[in-house]
Symmetry: C2
Subunit: 214 residues, 2 copies
């Protein structure tokens, strides 16, 4: 009967060839609307058109799959930041340009959280033992994660003279916390019912306070 026949009708060869990636792609879509709890081995296998045990050829367990999805989500956050920064118009004044990059980084971060809530939540549902500081984790196209991109923006402020080098240490904690906190408060927290306009005001204020305090 042929499972072969059945399988042929949907154009999936018995040897899938890239089932591992297909499972990750499926799991990413599962995570997309709501988050990491919806990353389910059986559902991902279903989407990939494969029995649910087949997944165990490619991932030791559900957690391994989730880990792969987390990394992808972190990468996508980094990619959006890079995109938004690259879209910036050129600015002759290096200090102004550096500020613009920092603002764009922060705005992109919040934009990602609000436009891709499930991915944002998944990116930060990091299984223990994975760190943003590890090279290779959560990388964007240039091999940098969101944290490194933020670091670059802050370095730019110092290099351009906009911010004194004595203020540089720990600056990413402040900038990152502010933007991350706003994202989670708007997404899942008590600020979730803010109107579009109120959100924009809140974001402006957060960025202004961070910029003023750096």
């Amino acid at each position: 009967m042929s499972m072969l026949a059945i399988v042929d009708t949907v154009n999936i060869p018995y040897h899938h060839g890239r089932l591992g990636e297909a499972l990750v792609e499926a799991a990413i879509e599962l995570a997309r609307p709501r988050g990491p709890d919806d990353v389910v081995l059986r559902a991902a296998s279903r989407i990939a058109g494969v029995s649910h045990n087949a997944a165990y050829r490619h991932f030791a367990d559900r957690d391994s799959l989730l880990r792969a999805v987390c990394e992808q989500c972190m990468t996508r956050l980094a990619l959006l930041i890079e995109t938004r920064v690259d879209e910036l118009p050129a600015d002759a004044d290096p200090a102004l340009a550096a500020w613009a990059r920092l603002y764009a980084t922060g705005r992109a971060y919040v934009e990602f959280a609000l436009s891709e809530p499930g991915w944002f939540r998944t990116a930060f549902a990091v299984p223990r033992g994975v760190s943003l500081f590890d090279p290779g984790e959560g990388v964007g196209s240039g091999g940098l994660g969101p944290y490194q991109l933020l670091g670059e923006a802050l370095d730019g402020l110092v290099e351009s003279g906009a911010v004194g080098p004595d203020r540089r240490p720990g600056a990413e904690y402040a900038a990152w916390s502010a933007v991350h906190g706003l994202s989670t408060l708007l997404l899942d927290g008590p600020l979730r019912d803010l109107s579009e306009a109120e959100r924009a005001q809140a974001l402006d204020k957060v960025l202004a306070v961070v910029a003023g305090g750096l």
Copy 2:
């Protein structure tokens, strides 16, 4: 046989008398180590010494119980903030006193997150439709939630002249976001592996940047 006999041995009368509260207390302990996912009707009933259906006399469903637990967690956060602010030594200079209150508020927030991780997560696992802005939700002893306590601290800055009134609007967004973001990054995010000393530095920097930018 007496279920009565059985029941007597553990000193729980058939009519419990305060089962609703007992269930909430049990659920709060369930949430304490890890968070809202561990708030389970059956487990709470078990702890309260009652069959799991009895819970339905007091809560329409699991979500109602969780809602009650959320509110309690928010209240406890508010109480810790009040405690820490009240512990502050008197300061003759009203501006310095106002700054000290803001700092204490922020430190207490992060302290709560790190010392009571499950409660912190639960406080912000707010079921849709509950807002921190509602009076009566998430109240401390004075009837104020964390958000209102923060607002008071900020008002104090303006009243004491430490901060111009033109900078007041939206200030809670900035302060709250920074402290909330740091809490979640340290608790569940990529900063979770920071050492005690690094955490303290990060917190100092976050507070300094917010204070400088307000």
